[in-house]
Symmetry: C2
Subunit: 492 residues, 2 copies
């Protein structure tokens, strides 16, 4: 049985790490900065994948797979992108191990098996994919290309945290090619919308849509569309980004197409991705001091049934009712686990499923059999009630919807209460320091000011939001004219 | 439009390569030996994954994810396994690129970013996983662990072929931990059975079940269970393997558990995997000189509807009927594409879908509208018939089943006609050289004889089959006593 979690109010970061490990979601591995995603954590990722994959396909995308490795010469073809990722690349230099004559029984890299050209382990796949698209695209008839890939990528991070920032992570990366600028921009905007819908409707995580400033933009992009969420500790989390890449990669890889009018033009591009980082965001949006809280739509187990019994005979009678309930619930599409293990006591199981965030728990004891009731416990509110057995299926169906909505509302209230308009730099610093959350402030539009604010407060511009008022003002730091408020925050 | 394929009888290998590329399944990439799996090829892999994943889950397995990299010291902990894979490992030695002062604008590996310990890109994950399981297993209560991972692996192959042998490939690898030997053996056997069922029922590819000899066994295994298929050119293909690993990895990584009786024992292990190589097997089992032939259960598109029209008005009337058909077929679970692109002619489309192995093609022209018929063409037999529109849905449902069965029967006949019993080495050589296929022969059980036969004929022992007669005899090469016939073949 796991130890009690550190309270969020005591040490949010410690609470997070303990929760991830104790709820069996993930753990650190023997490889610096790389995590092991345990079955329960991976089951959440599978639920996320299934929904996202469906949404990608509904918007006309197909999956494909491109190589893990990028030859150095391709990697550096688009200069800004290469510069953006060069400092965090794992590099393969050799292709063979051999016995080390100086260290018997041990292996060493075979110095004769040096690659002619080093291979970069993909930190993102624009380079290898655009080099491939060159062979796929001759004319406007070959466009658009709407491709996504589910893959692992590696970014050699110096400071890592489970799910939030790991040297290897799982993600999907969409890479599309278009015949004109407007279509590519529409695609990038559409995928931001898909991500926002997924975050709101499945993760129950409110997000703010906007675009990044120059300094926060994806390396090689002309515009980065982002969805930004707010965690319980007042820090923002970039939850998904979609990039309009202009013709940068087409130019770098010489990808031209014959237009309908018979001219040659460079192809327009987008890329977009979300990663296992979303699981970190999910945890930090809903969970509490008792452990994980999961929105029903992404919970690997929506309902757990725990029998409470003293004798074998009691267990048998309870099992009969439990299995009937399990079947009835499954018939209406609810995922149910009946935990009849005799190696653990009911109390242990209650604590475990609370820690693991199972939305609903059904307890059945001998008295329940008599009264034809069950005890139904909600994870989100930690409340319990007795429900007539015949009403359980309908009650569960209703509650799963209600919990999903409650979690979203709760998170939305918190987020809305943590967007603070400020007009002076004193207030700016105070809010960032004391309250946290998003600070909505005027900014003069320069990278220099952004940088100075970051140095003084650790807050960065999370996005220039789409839904801002058309309000002019003066930059909170320099007093220079500003066209609209932007959202600052400290961020993960 | 693609060029005509080389005939199988002319050059099987060339036919295969052309088919893979022209049917848009995969292509070579800029990275030596690594392939790009194109959307149509990847869609087949997704169908395979979905069925296999369901079968794994039905047998109690869960998915998880382990790091791509294995520190060298862990990699070499199980000596046989390390020895088996050392010569084909991609090795990461550095984690950063920098601008090269001697070569302006270019990047080079930063010599100061050398890793203290080299990282092997996983060729298989036993080492990293058993190092992880050490932390998961204390007592018999923690067992069994039934985990699978879908992942990419890298084996630096010198001679590669699309799908069949690539330096990077996609696969699943199951890794299970058990409290006793019998249970681990039962698991390994069960997964062989799962693979066999998948091959026969979904791929329509007959397989022979058996075990590997010492020399063909997985490095580090005590027993390797295999399924062996036969390709049209008479070469065998190892289509899936399941390994009983004994306590080898538990000993190498010191994974012990407290038994029910309170003793400490090493854990028993299995691992099992199939890969994108299966797509190569699928192609070489069913396809013909016209291109790919797909069993309906794995076809991304089961039915394609092609309109044949001269005027916009005709197209509109055909579209109405086609969309109705598409909806009706989808309602009964058939995947249907309606290809109404005006950029390609019907003849081009017919050829393309034939090349891509779509099981059924429906053509609708103006005359069909009059007669209330459609033209229905089968890919497997290349036959066509007119079918009354009202009967199409039932006809299609029946035909999809029939095609699946026909493909299996055809492949089974071919396979059975290519198992030849021989009792002299002359006959052995002759069959291997002239007819190909499996040669069923007596063997004295020694690695030396196996090796000599391989050197003389290029044939290896594909497996010691389970269903062999209990027949003793004399080794086909040495004349020494033999307990049963084994199956030799040249293999991919």
């Amino acid at each position: 049985m796991a130890k009690k979690l550190t309270k969020r109010s005591e040490d949010y970061s410690k609470w997070y790490n303990e929760l991830v490990v104790q709820a069996d979601l993930a753990e650190n591995s023997a490889v610096r900065g790389c995590m092991v995603i345990k079955p329960y954590g991976f089951a959440i990722w599978e639920k996320m994948q299934a929904e996202l994959d469906r949404m990608f396909k509904e918007t006309g995308h197909q999956n494909a797979y491109f190589p893990l490795f990028v030859p150095k010469s391709l990697f550096e073809a688009e200069e800004k992108n290469a510069e953006g990722f060069a400092k965090e690349c794992a590099v393969v230099t050799h292709y063979r191990l051999q016995n080390d004559p100086d260290n018997e029984g041990k292996l060493r890299v075979d110095p004769e098996a040096k690659l002619e050209e080093e291979l970069v382990v993909r930190p993102t796949s624009e380079a290898i994919i655009w080099n491939t698209y060159k062979g796929w695209i001759q004319s406007y008839r070959d466009l658009p290309i709407l491709v996504n890939q589910w893959a692992n990528v590696v970014r050699w991070e110096m400071r890592t945290r489970l799910f939030l920032r790991t040297s290897e992570f799982l993600w999907q990366e969409g890479h599309t090619a278009h015949a004109n600028k407007a279509e590519a921009i529409a695609e990038a905007a559409q995928m931001q919308e898909v991500y926002a819908t997924f975050a709101e409707e499945f993760m129950a995580m409110p997000v703010i849509k906007g675009v990044k400033t120059d300094s926060e933009r994806f390396a090689g992009a002309e515009e980065t569309y982002t969805i930004e969420a707010l965690m319980q500790d007042g820090k923002a989390l970039q939850a998904g980004t979609s990039h309009f890449l202009g013709q940068n990669f087409a130019k770098a890889f010489d990808v031209k197409f014959a237009t309908k009018e018979g001219k040659l033009d460079h192809v327009w591009a987008t890329s977009w991705g979300v990663s296992t980082r979303l699981i970190g965001g999910l945890i930090m949006t809903h969970s509490d001091d008792h452990g994980l809280v999961l929105p029903p739509k992404l919970a690997p187990i929506q309902v757990v049934i725990v029998p409470i019994y003293k004798s074998e005979e009691e267990l048998n009678r309870i099992t009969e009712v439990a299995k009937e309930l399990q079947r009835d619930l499954r018939n209406v599409g609810v995922s149910v686990k009946f935990d009849n293990r005799d190696t653990h006591k009911p109390g242990w199981k209650f604590a475990q499923y609370e820690l693991q965030g199972v939305p609903l728990r059904i307890g059945i004891g001998p008295k329940d059999l008599e009264k034809r009731t069950v005890e139904l416990a909600r994870r989100d509110t930690l409340t319990k009630e007795f429900v007539a057995k015949d009403e359980v299926v309908n009650k569960v169906k209703d509650l799963l919807v209600e919990i999903q909505n409650t979690l979203h509302e709760r998170a939305l209230d918190f987020r809305n209460n943590h967007i603070t308009k400020v007009d002076t730099f004193d207030d700016f610093e105070k809010v960032i320091k004391e309250k946290g959350g998003f600070v909505s402030a005027h900014w003069d539009g320069t990278e220099e000011t952004e940088d100075r604010i970051k140095k003084r407060t650790k807050a960065t511009i999370r996005c220039i939001p789409f839904d801002a008022d058309n309000e002019t003002g003066s930059c909170v730091l320099t007093g220079k004219p500003s066209q609209q408020r932007v959202l600052f925050a400290k961020a993960y």
